[in-house]
Symmetry: C2
């Protein structure tokens, strides 16, 4: 059993440990030499080039992804050549275009913010007029970690994007209490397993902290798990599906974004769940029976490590962090630190939420300036 | 930070996941192509050849081991060339020769079975006469997993080994209640951390099952941790030290064997401890602060998977096992199954020992004939 992963980022990297433990071969098509997933990178090449991707696929049993950016033409060529591709092109088409995503979510009855496809300033102006003069504009393609997302109060705020051509997605600016995320995994043969609903804290459009399970969530976990299961099944998602959610001012769930791969809001599962999202993704794309997604501790808290340390060298900080927090799990992605770049994360587990949060933040604090 | 591991077996393989998580580079000098640790194997060569080992060591920050068989001359060449080697040659010398081990353990006051170095049949006959006509004879070098160990009732039973030359180790046949193992890790700068004492079940000289922590152990855990700490410190062991113990009929501990590397009796720590023996070994040999060795569940039970499946194919068995036991953790070493060969292990965790044992055995049972 060999899984081929297109993309050499930290998500591919974090698939390596469970592949090694399960005895699953893993090969990565990386963009560059020295990628985060370099230990498993057998090819360095362009994932937009069908010949490169087809050659890579020949040696593996299933093709999966570190990101959702492989062009549909390349995906079609893989399927045409008889390769198993999970998630498949139809599901990925939904993740690749936020307008398609909104349409499909609406069609299956998933709750979403008010939205529209706008083609010009007049359209955006009309939407703003109907929504209290504020809205979120998103480029349908290519955005991530807050890129391609902008809060606007005037049609002029999106002028450059309109000038670049194509319609934009405009959405109501949801007055949310908090952000949540529901992750599930689905096998091609249909089995779905859900992790606990988690609360996520975003800073500058980037996931900063995750609390698992989401505190004081009442009936939301059951609702979120059902919703994510519905989406995975209706859209035919295989592997891990992350559903980013708003809990609005009235306590209702609204779907914000979808990701069809392991997701930052699921990193806590490496240390806090019986089956991590990375192990589950491998099982799912190989259509192996899914593992138990139950948490192993009452609370798990993940804090991202961003950007580059300035004051001290990375090894010095690392040494100090390990010494101070022997019980916290440290994850480093083997990437050169740059401001704002995700270079690692830490996870603390515990029996009291406040204490667990404090320990995770303290551990991550060693890498901040 | 790059760790170089000499030997490409499953112990080197299982160092890969924590290396990836911690952001530590790992390179393996493997004996053969397609080794268990192939994903990290950057060199295939003979660990008995100093030039091969020196060339391998040039690219790493510390040299450590998957086994204890690297010749002292090669170790000396590494140290001479300025490489960090953990565990070091002096410590490894004790692990490499069971007569030296017995002498050193005796010198530091560690409790050991009655023993003697015997050079001929007459010497063995005398020892047998003093010990009820039964004894254990061991070849001082090269034994593992029951190889090089023989229960004898007559000097003739060891005739072939005497004929091969050199003294043999003879020990009293301990009337033990059970076998235990105490693992600790030690940094070059002196920090020592101990995992819980575990009970081990051996079959045909091979570790079959491990129960963590050792049930109904009274004061033995504290005694065993102190003993292993003493041995690690006095012998200057760096990295993981495994102390295999007998609990004799009077409830006393006796040291059976030492291993200076991660050990089969510590595999449960991957899934049942905050810091696994493989992560701790990497931290220790790099002289990084050690992690918390506390268990994450009341009970962990590991069962080895041996030999080759005959009736069904491995993937079919694997699929059935995963389906039946979604909460058990499966570890496959990527090795061709041969009768009696360790090809993987499973670990179950739980709140009741009986149930945890039953689930681990059920999971492993899918791979037996």
């Amino acid at each position: 059993m060999i899984v081929g992963v297109i993309g050499g980022g930290q998500l591919a990297r974090m698939m390596v440990p469970p592949a090694v433990e399960l005895g699953i071969g893993i090969r990565v098509l990386a963009e560059v030499e020295g990628s985060s997933a370099a230990i498993a990178a057998t090819v360095v090449g362009d994932y937009r080039d069908a010949a490169t991707v087809l050659a890579f696929a020949r040696g593996v049993d299933v093709v999966t992804f570190d990101h959702e950016h492989v062009p549909q033409a390349v995906l079609a060529a893989l399927v045409e050549a008889g390769h198993a591709v999970h998630p498949g092109p139809d599901a990925l088409a939904v993740a690749q275009d936020k307008l398609v995503m909104r349409e499909r979510l609406g069609a299956i009855g998933a709750p979403v913010p008010d939205w529209a496809a706008v083609h010009d300033a007049a359209g955006l102006r009309a939407f703003l007029a109907d929504h209290g003069g504020r809205a979120v504009v998103k480029t349908p393609r290519g955005g991530y970690d807050g890129k391609g997302v902008r809060v606007v109060r005037d049609a002029a705020d999106a002028e450059d994007w309109f000038a670049a051509g194509g319609p934009l997605l405009v959405e109501e600016l949801v007055d949310f209490r908090r952000e949540l995320a529901q992750l599930v995994a689905r096998r091609p043969s249909g089995q779905v397993r859900a992790w606990p609903l988690v609360e996520t804290v975003q800073r500058d459009g980037v996931c900063a902290e995750v609390f698992a399970p989401a505190p004081q969530a009442g009936g939301l976990p059951a609702e979120a798990a059902a919703l994510a299961g519905l989406i995975a099944t209706e859209l035919g998602v295989t592997g891990v599906l992350a559903v980013e959610l708003f809990e609005d001012a009235d306590g209702r769930l609204l779907v914000n974004e979808l990701a069809m791969r392991p997701h930052n809001t699921g990193h806590w599962t490496i240390d806090g769940a019986v089956t991590s999202q990375f192990e589950q993704h491998l099982r799912a794309v190989l259509d192996l029976p899914l593992g138990d997604p139950s948490p192993t501790a009452p609370w798990s808290v993940m804090v991202n490590v961003l950007g580059g340390p300035a004051g001290a060298t990375m090894p010095d900080r690392y040494r100090a962090a390990l010494a101070d927090r022997p019980e916290v799990k440290f994850h480093s992605y083997g990437k050169q630190p740059r401001p704002g770049r995700k270079v690692g994360h830490v996870t603390a587990t515990g029996t009291e939420l406040d204490d667990t949060v404090a320990r995770a933040r303290a551990a991550a604090g060693f890498f901040q300036d």
